[in-house]
């Protein structure tokens, strides 16, 4: 087990959301969008621009700024 910010994960890597840093509003919004503590995330694209990920069957694009604040345990 190792903790990493989402933005450092490569394509096809998988992790579970451990915590989200940042202000409460953003945190809550992300939780409500399904990016909650404990949710499994697979990275589908991470090169330039927003990341693309799969969160419990749902495909989402997520800005890099946010991905920097989401800590996954791998």
């Amino acid at each position: 087990m190792e903790d990493k910010a989402m933005v450092f994960l490569k394509r096809n890597e998988f992790g579970k959301i451990k915590e989200i840093n940042g202000c409460e509003d953003v945190k809550k919004r992300l939780f409500e969008l399904g990016l909650r503590r404990g949710a499994g995330v697979r990275i589908l694209k991470n090169d330039i621009g927003p990341l693309i990920l799969n969160v419990s069957g749902c495909k989402m694009a997520l800005g890099r700024g946010l991905a920097r604040n989401i800590i996954l345990s791998i």
Binding site: V26, F31, E32, L33, G38, I52, G57, A61, G63
Partner: protein, 662 residues
């Protein structure tokens, strides 16, 4: 009449269901945020009429953006008799989050478990009976797109209206929070409210602004909330967590989804269209091919027919009128004004239809969200939000829905910029103008010219966006989060239906607002009595002559062009209608085209196209700006600044072109 509201996450199929229930034809598209307004329709069932309300999609009742506010307000204040919660079966966990919030409110809710076809093909195994039992809510499986399960859904919803108050097992938020809720409830006791005290307590702990506002007068509760201090934000997130735990327990025993999902077709397509090098070129190619095909199909294959009909109609009508000894003034109205003016617009129906057909396909496949994705980098560099791009593409159809769709932008600054630049996206009503000038001067390169015009619109929009974000609306733009829905095969029927809807709208405008403009201008053209209609000596000609010098530096300083531009502010099609009218009716065939060839040089034609692309948006757009910004100042700004941009652009093109000897 009883009201049934459709509530659910974005893109879960609410509007598709709404259309199936009411037989309406509201806009459906495969990206989140299609519906941004409340829409109502009627359902007849067993001799009763029910009011069905379609709402914008929302992930929670937290209301982060304008469209979510619309949904929230209706759920909380609209007093629906039953809520149909549309849940996407392929993503039950996240979708049920909103359900838990509905339960907390004590809403009478039933679940339409939609997209069952996709859940099946993804091998998601759902025990509906059990799910329903665990939740304490009826669950009806549906496939809205194929109208499956609709009858049982209606049956259940109607049954539910008459059922007595419904009680769910309350969610446990953990010892501490449950105690807080309990305490606040006690403090609330006695004060009569339209909502369950339980819900008020939860929302107060969640920091819901509206609820806190309402509680302002209640000293005790306020004191209590203040005493929580730091714990408050901790509780807020804890509540969210607990809701997910609750959901987790419910779906644990009723939903089984394969863990390691293989790469889907959607993933494969996305690898190509979102590729870091290919993304933007692919978008450009899609646009280019659409315009080229629009031109080939709409003009070469279909265009001739309508034009032929209108010519025949004109010839036939003038023949009859002449034998009836119709007075000249009436002749000039019917032949030049109605047939020449309105007809000049109607000629383009086939092209408009094909354009809308392609836009419809673009919206239904799911590519829209990807276009926003690939443009995000560029948009961000300009200080704009990636989602702005979706409102821009919607603006290609018409700027009114384009501006409406900016509601999905959470940040006020992002939204204002998106709203202000939308009119540079060339709408369907401006299309006929380009087509007339293309037929007159660039008939061999129609597709390319169209592509360049639309491209120029995008570029000007982006440049203005950059300027706004550096001046009027400084500050960070909000984060980019967007769902990328799976690609779906557009249903031919719904694309055609949507297209027909828009074509019909276009025809109606031709018959109403364009007809009125033509009539008004015709009246101006026959005064002072005795002048040759549509001559420079007429009142119309004189007004135009006064305006004309403004446009002289742009190369089209004729009274005809000036009048047409001003008429275009009523509705953009009027530009063509007026040109058709003042340059003689359609009775003599291609007169408009050849008149334009004489009145404009090719360079002046380009500069005129730049002007019509960019200048003041039409009255309907200005009205929408007024409604959305609630500010006369911004509305005036929206009328003036594009005019200046358009004028400067046109003058620039003409002057530089002249120097280069074009």
């Amino acid at each position: 009449m009883n009201t049934i509201a459709l509530v659910g996450n974005p893109n879960s199929g609410k509007t598709t269901l709404f259309n199936a229930l009411t037989g309406s034809n509201q806009h459906v598209g495969n990206w989140p945020g299609v519906t941004v307004e409340k829409k109502e329709g009627q359902l007849k069932f067993n001799g009763n009429i029910y009011n069905i309300v379609d709402l914008p999609g929302t992930y929670s009742l937290g209301a982060y953006s304008e469209d979510e506010v619309v949904a929230r307000d209706f759920i909380i204040k609209g007093n629906p008799d039953v809520v149909i919660n549309v849940v996407d079966a392929t993503n039950i966990e996240r979708n049920l989050y909103l359900t838990t919030q509905l339960m907390e409110m004590g809403t009478k809710v039933i679940i339409a478990l939609n997209m069952m076809d996709e859940a099946k093909s993804k091998n998601i195994d759902i025990d509906i009976e059990k799910l329903s039992q665990n939740l304490g809510i009826p669950v009806i499986p549906t496939i809205a797109a194929k109208k499956k399960g609709i009858d049982s859904l209606i049956q259940k919803a109607v049954e539910f209206i008459n059922e007595d108050i419904y009680n769910y097992d309350p969610i446990s938020y953990g010892e501490n929070i449950d105690k807080e809720i309990h305490d606040i409830r006690i403090l609330l006791k006695g004060s009569s409210r339209e909502y369950p005290n339980n819900w008020i307590a939860i929302k107060a702990l969640e920091g819901d602004k509206e609820v806190l506002n309402k509680l302002k007068s209640n000293e005790l509760v306020n004191q209590h909330l203040i005493s929580l201090a730091d714990k408050a934000s901790e509780y807020e997130l804890e509540i969210v967590d607990r809701r997910y735990n609750f959901i987790g327990n419910i779906i644990h025993s009723s939903v089984n989804r394969p863990t390691e999902s293989r790469e889907t077709l959607t993933d494969k397509i996305d690898k190509i269209v979102t590729n870091k090098y290919l993304g933007i070129p692919i978008f450009a190619i899609i646009m280019f091919v659409s315009f080229q095909l629009t031109f080939v199909i709409g003009s070469d294959l279909l265009g001739g027919y309508v034009e032929g009909w209108i010519e025949n109609l004109g010839g036939w009508l003038s023949g009859i009128l002449l034998t009836l000894n119709t007075p000249d003034w009436l002749l000039s109205f019917l032949i030049d004004g109605v047939v020449g003016g309105v007809g000049a617009v109607v000629v383009f129906v086939p092209l408009i239809a094909v354009l809308y057909f392609f836009l419809g396909i673009l919206e239904d496949t799911g590519y829209m969200a990807r276009a926003a994705y690939v443009m995000d980098g560029l948009m961000r560099a300009l200080g704009l939000h990636g989602k702005t791009f979706i409102s821009m593409i919607v603006g290609f159809g018409c700027n009114v829905p384009g501006i409406m769709s900016t509601r999905t932008l959470e940040n006020k600054k992002d939204r204002m910029i998106a709203l202000l630049i939308n009119p540079f996206m060339s709408c369907g009503a401006r299309f006929p103008i380009y087509l007339v000038f293309i037929s007159a001067f660039f008939a061999d390169n129609g597709g390319i010219v169209l592509f360049l015009i639309y491209g120029l619109g995008i570029i000007v929009a982006l440049v203005m966006g950059k300027i706004f974000s550096k001046t009027l609306f400084k500050g960070e733009s909000s984060h980019f989060i967007m769902e990328l829905p799976p690609y779906r095969l557009p249903s031919f029927r719904s694309v055609i239906r949507d297209m027909w809807d828009k074509v019909w709208d276009f025809l109606q405008r031709a018959g109403t607002i364009i007809f009125i403009v033509v009539t008004l201008l015709w009246i101006l053209s026959i005064f002072p009595l005795g002048v040759e209609p549509y001559s420079q000596e007429s009142l119309l000609g004189k007004i135009g002559t006064i305006i004309a010098p403004i446009f002289a530096p742009a190369g089209f300083g004729t009274w005809q062009a000036s009048v047409s531009l001003f008429a275009g502010i009523a509705a953009k099609e009027a530009v063509v209608a007026v040109l058709g009218m003042v340059y003689g009716g359609a009775s003599e065939g291609r007169e408009l085209i050849s008149a334009i060839q004489q009145a404009f040089t090719p360079l002046a034609a380009i500069s005129f196209l730049v002007m019509t692309l960019l200048y003041t948006p039409c009255a309907a757009v200005l009205a929408t700006v007024k409604k959305e910004t609630n500010s006369i100042g911004w509305t005036v700004f929206m009328a003036v600044y594009p005019f200046i941009i358009g004028w400067v652009g046109a003058v620039f093109v003409y002057q530089v072109g002249s120097i280069l000897g074009l």
